[in-house]
Amino acid sequence: MLALFLSAAILMMLSASPLDAFSLILSGAFGSWAKLAYVMTAWAPVLLCSAGLLITFAAGLWNIGIEGQVVMGAVFATGLMRILQDSVPPSAVLMLAALAGLSGGALWGMLVGGLRRYGNVNEIFGGLGLNFIAGSLTVYLVLGPWKRPGIGSTSGTEPFPPSLWLPPFRDFQASPIEIILGLIAIASVAIALRGTHFGLQLRAIGKNVKAAFLKGIAVDRNIFLSFGLCGALAGLTGWILIVGTSARHNLYPLISSGYGYLAILVVLLANLKALWSVPISFFFAAISMGSLQLPLQRQLDSSLGGVIQGMLVLSILVIHGIRSRWLRREG
């Protein structure tokens, strides 16, 4: 409620009718099948990234580097597809590219873990640095070795042919494979955190590293693994951003489009609860896509969607903080 109120206040300052804007966002998200499909294509990446972040957050780690991990997944997938597209059947190319994406992201994630473990670099700074490197790498690839024949432009590499796209579901321009992968990822993470020794150990590390270590838990190995797993899911996201039904089907700078950061907000809002991050990520995807309508129909910037999402998370965190402070005073 606080978030709605605050975003309404901001809209008012921009001399726009809040109700009008909200309804525009809603119709932008759900107004037609095509629009809903669009929301779905945004939902899958957020779901996958949220699943990965649930793992690192459980271990008490801030994997800001998830953006770079998405990018590296996309880079690895693209690279493999460029090599194999003319020699191997398309479905095999797609599968192998998914694996390449997974390993690219995992590699980038474990690099964050390695920097933390051996270089004493906090994962926030390590992740941030690697995000920049991944971003620069795409620019280099797009303008250099992988540039389109004849023209070198930052708009991206040569798009892949439709045979290398994930198939749509009849007319619905979103592949069920993407959504299913995302939901499977969330479900497996939920089960792993609750029902496996690995998940339990990660949660113990997140809550009290010292005690976890004294209990004989292999803290370093588990942290390393959690970065790797999160990176792998992020890498799979990168693959979807290349081959997804509504994707641009090529590698371009900023391909991660902030999905990783958005997922951080989702997981924070879900208070690290796996199941809650399913509806929340859907909601966020809807706001993101819906707000694209704002500049088209009113002279408002589409970044307003981001404002609303940010407000939502901030107000929840503030309320949570105030409540726990209040509880402590009571107790």
Binding site: G195, T196, H197, F198, L200, Q201, R203, A204, K207, N208, K210, A211, A212, F213, L214, K215, G216, I217, A218
Partner: protein, 503 residues
């Protein structure tokens, strides 16, 4: 007012300050740390405050220096009632405290540490402050390089820096809390000379210590605290026996564990040297047999923790060898020590022992060695219920550990240890527990020793040490002496803890 004149005035024109504490009461939860302490320190004197671990010395001094506020009672400086809300206010009114471990900023330079907390200046005139620092240091025979980093300094030098800083801030009363635990003999000489010099200039010094010899040689008057109360006040020419009695009471507790029915050597230490940033324990050799209980006495931070962590494999020795059950474990990782049957129980139950936000059953699942991939929750809960019963824990498998009382947390920690450890290393196993819980914990532990577990534990309660151990290791500023408990009296232990035979 011009700042430099101001600073000169309080450095060079001194006024002695009389300190009075009246009926100071301080509780920490159920623990009554100060129970109506009344104390007068005459201006310009060196006053000793003597007492055992946990007697309430540090609490009292933290109250006097504004780190803690008393639950009741008042503080008078030169006859005027004062109330501090922070150490800064206390220093502004003239009371400065030097803590056992220096509260400084190791990453900063000497000069920056010196300037911290000084009255605010927007732009620092570093040159002038440097000469001020050097001047003060010279007066007390200290020597610093203002541009050196504090972490390159020894503990003794860091104390000296802290003294100079407090003086520059205008402290007239200087409290030193156990300042000689981690410094060299030479630095101690320097420190004592400086303290004499301070009283000559009219400062009042309160010297907090458990070391009888030091207090006797340094101070003119001494107040003894025990169990949060003043148990005596004396001029320091009074005989040592009197002071020991004031510290430990008249109780005639005598060690009763005489029947030695010990097995194989479990822990063998050979010429072990352990050190951390503040202390070094050198040349330790020790043999502990199955079923033996060894207690560690001495002021906290005199090397006991180092020793336990060394035996647990958490701290690698710089020289020497560790053998556990005839197996050389020197330099092996902590997990190998666990595999070898070593159980380590840290003092901080919720800080290092248990994991806040997790249930008893989850803790149980965490202790499983070489677990399968999936957790069998039903089996884990059943196992937890069994342990809850066996260890008399008031809780359910689904209870969060922070919801348990201290005694139940301690029993939980014990219940989580492997059932047949070869060696148990415990920091303060009964600290903060009531009599009944303490008794219960020891019954559990003694049942273990019957089955051949060797136990090393630290405690700040001399009676517990005498009652429960076969041998006591007394730690004194990194040095160690061994004492047989059979027939030994509390008085004898008290003398050793106070430093007899160490110097």
């Amino acid at each position: 007012m011009n700042y430099s004149e101001h600073s000169l005035s309080f450095v060079f024109f001194l006024s002695s300050m009389k300190v009075e504490l009246r009926d100071i009461q301080k509780y920490f939860g159920p623990v009554h740390a100060n129970d109506g302490v009344t104390l007068t320190v005459e201006p310009g004197t060196l006053h000793g405050l003597l007492g055992e671990n946990g007697a309430g010395k540090s609490t009292l001094m933290k109250v006097l220096s504004g780190f803690l506020s008393p639950d009741r009672g008042e503080i008078l400086l030169d006859g005027k009632v004062v109330r501090f809300h922070s150490p800064t206010e206390a220093v502004a009114l003239g009371v400065g405290m030097l803590h056992q471990d220096p509260l400084d900023f190791p990453a900063l330079r000497v000069i920056d540490n010196f300037l911290l907390g000084s009255p605010r200046e927007f732009l620092l005139d570093r040159k002038r402050h440097k000469s001020r620092l050097n001047e003060l240091a010279d007066r007390f025979g200290f020597r610093f390089d203002p541009e050196a980093r504090v972490f390159d300094l020894s503990i003794g030098e860091r104390q000296q820096l802290e003294i100079v800083r407090l003086l520059a801030l205008g402290a007239n009363v200087l409290i030193l809390d156990e300042p000689t635990t981690a410094i060299s003999a030479q630095q101690r000489e320097n420190l004592f000379d400086a303290l004499y010099q301070l009283t000559k200039e009219g400062k009042t010094v309160i010297f907090v210590s458990h070391k009888l010899g030091e207090v006797k040689s340094l101070c003119s008057k001494v107040t003894v605290l025990a169990h949060g109360k003043v148990t005596g006040e004396a001029a320091t020419d009074c005989p040592t026996e009197e002071l020991v009695k004031m510290m430990f009471g008249q109780a005639l507790t005598v060690g009763k564990r005489c029947e030695m029915n010990l097995g194989e050597p479990i822990l063998e230490l050979q010429d072990l040297t352990l050190s951390d940033w503040r202390l070094e324990v050198k040349g330790l050799s020790l043999k502990v047999r199955a079923g033996e209980v060894v207690g560690f006495a001495g002021l906290e931070g005199s090397g006991q923790e180092l020793f336990l962590r060394g035996c647990a494999g958490l701290l690698k020795p710089s020289t020497g060898r560790i053998r556990i059950a005839h197996q050389d474990m020197t330099g092996r990782p902590y997990r190998d020590f666990i595999e070898a049957g070593v159980g380590y129980m840290p003092a901080g139950r919720l800080e290092e022992g248990l994991i806040e936000g997790m249930t008893l059953a989850e803790h149980m699942a965490l202790t499983e060695r070489n677990p399968p991939f999936f957790i069998d929750w039903a089996m884990t809960e059943e196992k937890t219920s069994q342990r809850i019963e066996a260890f008399n824990i008031k809780g359910q498998p689904t209870t969060l550990v922070e919801g348990l009382s201290g005694g139940n947390q301690q029993r939980t920690l014990l219940s989580l240890l492997p059932p047949q450890p070869k060696l148990l290393l415990m920091e303060h196993p009964t600290r903060g527990l009531d009599m009944e819980s303490t008794e219960y914990i020891w019954r559990l532990l003694q049942a273990r020793t019957q089955q051949g577990t060797a136990i090393l534990f630290t405690s700040s309660d001399p009676e517990e040490l005498l009652d429960r151990s076969d041998h006591i290791l007394i730690f004194f500023a990194g040095k160690v002496r061994m004492m047989d408990t059979c027939g030994a009296s509390l008085f004898h232990l008290g003398e050793l803890i106070g430093g007899k035979g160490f110097e």
